[in-house]
């Protein structure tokens, strides 16, 4: 593999940072904040994972009595809220914070202290959510449909803690998103036009706009809910409209799905080219489709509400917009697959996760289209089929992308390589476990099993499929524990990575691993979206290739003879 010949005289040893713990409380360095986001996300992922294992145990057989009904409801409320707001989003923001300034050649975020503030708001939001355990945790679901979430039906303070936590986390996330937007607009390296940005940065940039526009809708809804609960208001109850809550919630909630998946797509768009040893196929289409998705994500939200009794034109409009958003999503998938074509594919652990991502995400996308086919939604919404669908998108998709990113960027963040052998064993356990858990849940939904039930009657097949799902969940959990062990051991004992262990082409690989404070000693010139390729191949830089997309691309004679 080619590595860029860059000055490395200031490379610090991986463990040479000050070991003073209080440093983490006051740090404003984007890399430190990124690491703290990742740690926060990992911690809450663990908590949310334990919660779901308890739920799966309860569902292992019909009529099980391990958890009480209300306890089960508290568990799935906390599981949903934790995984979305405290695990997936912090991990995505962690990657964004760590990588975006590096990828665009900046020294730090535009507002480092605001960045730290955003992180601590999110962290305190998490603390508040779990402080509700003292008072009785929320049990109205992460979606908290009114009037179930109103005082007469949820009398404990759990829902109030939940609302306060979400308000705080939402504020933190919004501040970080604004910071990302301004950083991207103002602090790109000289020569890096928007259409030359690495794809991860592209998607994180666009994603920040979605965050900035979607979260206010949630915040508004939460404040109205609190007015109802604490001040006797009537927004969603007692003459108000329960369906209004759903409009506000899903106007946030569906863009939220894309918030959780766009940075994951960004990671995949970085990993696949590097391990195919080719540029991404159709860069402008992959980046541009992100814009289409950002706009459309606000136009599809009511497909969560097809059963509330809308008039026919409303239903049809949202069915059409939902089908429409499948097109830019499909463009991404086809371009990832096309990037593999005629490549020279290295099956490293990050690449394995990326390939599993393509397969699983496509499956989740296809079951997603089946909900846009509205009568199918009238049959299967709020059944286990939905549970299976969105876990294929958010776990088979996003989580696998995050694991891919973890294995890909771990050397950059720590200076050491993760064990490939260990990683491959964990990969297969996670992949088999994941598909075992959720594939059968499609069938359970079709068999008529509603979601969010703490138990179920002993109908033919229900017990067996649920048991299979539960056993698979433990295989999946074991795979994740192996990954954690891999991280802990490799952090101390892993092979030294060097600046650019994967032979990648974007700026974050031009500096040391981990990067020094201020990130770069000297930036290479940026003339294309692959500055390190240009540096390593001065005879044939990207920016001197003809700017056209003909049948073959522009291919040098030696590439044409590349022996496979």
């Amino acid at each position: 593999m080619t590595t860029a010949p860059l000055p490395t005289e200031t490379a610090p040893a991986p463990a040479s940072r000050p070991r003073n713990f209080t440093r983490w409380l006051s740090t404003t360095d984007h890399k430190d904040i990124g690491m703290m986001y990742l740690a926060l996300g990992a911690l809450f992922f663990l908590i949310g994972g334990v919660e779901v294992l308890m739920m799966r145990l309860q569902l292992a057989r019909p009529g099980n009595t391990l958890l009480q009904a209300t306890t089960y409801n508290e568990f799935f409320t906390l599981h949903g809220t934790t995984m979305i707001f405290l695990a997936v989003m912090p991990i995505l923001l962690g990657f964004s914070n760590y990588l975006l300034p590096l990828q665009i050649g900046a020294k730090d975020m535009a507002f480092p202290r605001l960045n730290a503030f955003g992180f601590w708001l999110t962290a305190f939001g998490g603390v508040i959510l779990y402080l509700s355990l003292l008072e009785g945790p929320p049990d109205a679901g992460w979606f908290a449909y009114a009037p179930l979430s109103e005082r007469p039906f949820s009398s404990s303070l759990g829902t109030d803690f939940w609302a306060a936590a979400l308000l705080m986390m939402g504020m933190g996330t919004t501040l970080t998103a604004l910071n990302i937007i301004i950083t991207t607009v103002r602090y790109r390296a000289v020569g890096m036009g928007l259409w030359k940005m690495p794809l991860f940065s592209w998607m994180v940039f666009v994603n920040s706009f979605i965050i900035a526009f979607a979260l206010p809708s949630l915040s508004a809804a939460l404040i109205m809910l609190e007015v109802d609960r604490a001040l006797g208001g009537r927004f969603f109850q007692g003459g108000g409209s329960p369906v209004l809550w759903q409009h506000y919630f899903w106007l946030f909630g569906h863009p939220e799905v894309y918030i959780m998946v766009l940075p994951a797509w960004g990671i995949i768009s970085e990993v696949i080219p590097v391990f195919s040893r080719k540029p991404i196929f159709g860069y402008k289409f992959v980046a541009g489709s992100t814009l289409a998705i950002a706009v459309l994500s606000f136009a599809v939200y009511a497909h969560h509400m097809f059963a509330v009794g809308f008039a026919r034109p409303v239903n049809l409009a949202f069915a059409a917009s939902t089908m429409l958003i499948a097109i830019p999503t499909g463009i991404k998938v086809t371009n990832w697959v096309a990037t593999l074509w005629k490549g020279s594919i290295r099956l490293t652990v990050p690449m394995l996760y990326a390939i599993a991502f393509i397969v699983q995400f496509t499956f989740g996308g296809i079951t997603g289209v089946s909900f846009a086919v509205l009568p199918i939604d009238w049959q299967l919404t709020d059944s286990y089929y939905v549970v299976a669908h969105f876990h294929y998108v958010l776990m088979g998709g996003t989580l696998f992308a995050l694991l891919s990113g973890l294995h890909f960027y771990f050397p950059k963040m720590t200076g050491r390589m993760l064990s490939e052998g260990f990683g491959k064993i964990a990969f297969w356990m996670i992949t088999l476990g994941f598909n075992g858990v959720f594939l059968v849940q499609h069938a359970l939904g079709m068999m008529g099993m509603p979601r969010r039930v703490y138990t179920y009657p002993d109908l033919p097949g229900w017990g067996a499929l649920n048991l299979f799902s539960t056993v698979s969940a433990f295989v999946l959990a074991l795979g994740l524990v192996l990954t954690l062990i891999n991280i802990v051991i490799s952090w101390r004992l892993g092979r030294i990575a060097g600046d650019n262990p994967w032979g990648a082409w974007t700026l974050e690989w031009a500096t040391t691993s981990p990067p020094p404070k201020g990130n770069f000693v000297r930036l290479p010139p940026v003339k294309s979206s692959r500055p390190l390729w240009d540096l390593a191949h001065p005879e044939d830089p990207d920016h001197q290739r003809p700017p056209r997309h003909d049948q073959q691309g522009h291919i040098r004679p030696e590439e044409r003879n590349h022996e496979r």
Binding site: P279, G282, L340, K342, I345, I366, D382, R451, V453
Partner: protein
């Protein structure tokens, strides 16, 4: 663990895959659409996955030096993919529209519905606004079971007494949310007599899991007979049944009528199910138990142990009282 005894009303085993085994011209088009959509989807999935695996295998690194051809893309291919995807989606959208018109016709939604289904935490109430009893008083109201005549398209109004529920009888109709303050309407029809399972499909609190119901489709004659019987008021137990008579007195003394309606007895509560013809039903409390004397005794002994969180408190009845109340309720045919 709760044992489900065999139900007397269960004509045949429940369908294993109710969403794919429709028993109604209003559900069958959804099944067809599901097969078409999933068939197309799985074909696309097979194509994407097949190409992915083929490329990974065909173009795997086999020790070659240097880099492979640097192909940056092809705008024409991108447009072709977009148009193909667009074509498939337009096809699906047209199918969607046609199917919606077939299973959810909107004409005639102004009249009186045939059945009003109301979701409560946590049972389903069904009332029949078109039915009157011989005395012209009251309406027919039942719980947990919705009786319908076969071969006729019926208009259902779905509402809620508290939080949002969702009416889901997969073999017979589309699903529809039950929203407080909003009467949603849908059509339902069963081709053949039989028992069809249904459940609440929207999370509605502690006992969402036990908010199940059965739709019992009967021939029009059987249905009319059922309706006529249901329209009658509760009959006092025959004098020979001392235990049942004592139970009737206990029902009044314990204040059961504060929450339950018993037409003809003066009990008018609306928190719990109407019990006027309780003994004619197959299930108790949203399907948590089948309606047998033993199960009923167990339920009355401590409802909170059988269905934690249910609105019915534990009245701490002694064994004799349990026998009496059970005997009484069993007479309410």
């Amino acid at each position: 663990m709760l044992k489900q005894g065999p139900s007397l009303l269960l004509a045949s085993a429940p369908a294993a895959l109710p969403t794919l085994q429709p028993a109604s011209p209003l559900a069958a088009p959804i099944t067809t659409l599901t097969y078409v959509t999933l068939g197309l989807g799985l074909a696309i999935f097979a194509l994407v996955t097949g190409l992915t695996f083929y490329f990974v295998w065909r173009y795997r690194h086999r020790g070659a030096e240097g880099e492979p051809p640097q192909i940056f893309g092809n705008a024409r291919d991108e447009v072709v993919w977009m148009l193909m995807a667009g074509g498939i989606l337009v096809f699906l959208f047209i199918l969607t529209w046609i199917t919606m018109n077939r299973i959810d016709p909107q004409a005639g939604q102004d009249g009186t519905p045939d059945v009003i289904v109301t979701g409560h935490q946590w049972f389903w109430e069904a009332s029949y606004p078109r039915a009157t009893n011989p005395a012209g008083l009251g309406v027919v109201s039942t719980a947990g079971e919705i009786h319908i005549p076969t071969g006729k398209k019926l208009l259902l109004e779905v509402g809620s007494a508290d939080v949002i529920h969702d009416f889901w009888a997969p073999q017979l109709a589309r699903k529809m949310d039950a929203i407080p303050g909003q009467g949603n309407r849908l059509w339902i029809q069963a081709d053949k007599p039989g028992t069809y399972l249904g459940a609440c499909s929207e999370f509605c609190g502690a006992q969402h899991a036990w908010m199940r119901f059965k739709v019992i489709a009967q021939t029009p004659q059987d249905f009319q007979a059922w309706l006529a019987r249901q329209a009658q008021q509760a009959a006092p137990p025959p004098p020979a049944q001392a235990e049942a008579l004592a139970g009737a007195a206990l029902f009044v003394r314990q204040g059961c009528g504060e929450c339950h309606t018993l037409r003809g007895v003066g009990a008018r509560g609306t928190v719990g199910p109407d019990l006027t013809h309780f003994a004619s039903r197959g299930i108790i409390a949203g399907g948590v138990l089948d309606n047998t004397p033993d199960n009923l005794r167990r339920w009355l002994h401590n409802p909170q142990a059988v269905k934690p969180g249910v609105r019915m408190p534990n009245y701490r009845l002694n064994d004799a009282q349990l026998r009496q109340l059970t005997a009484y309720l069993e007479t309410l045919q």
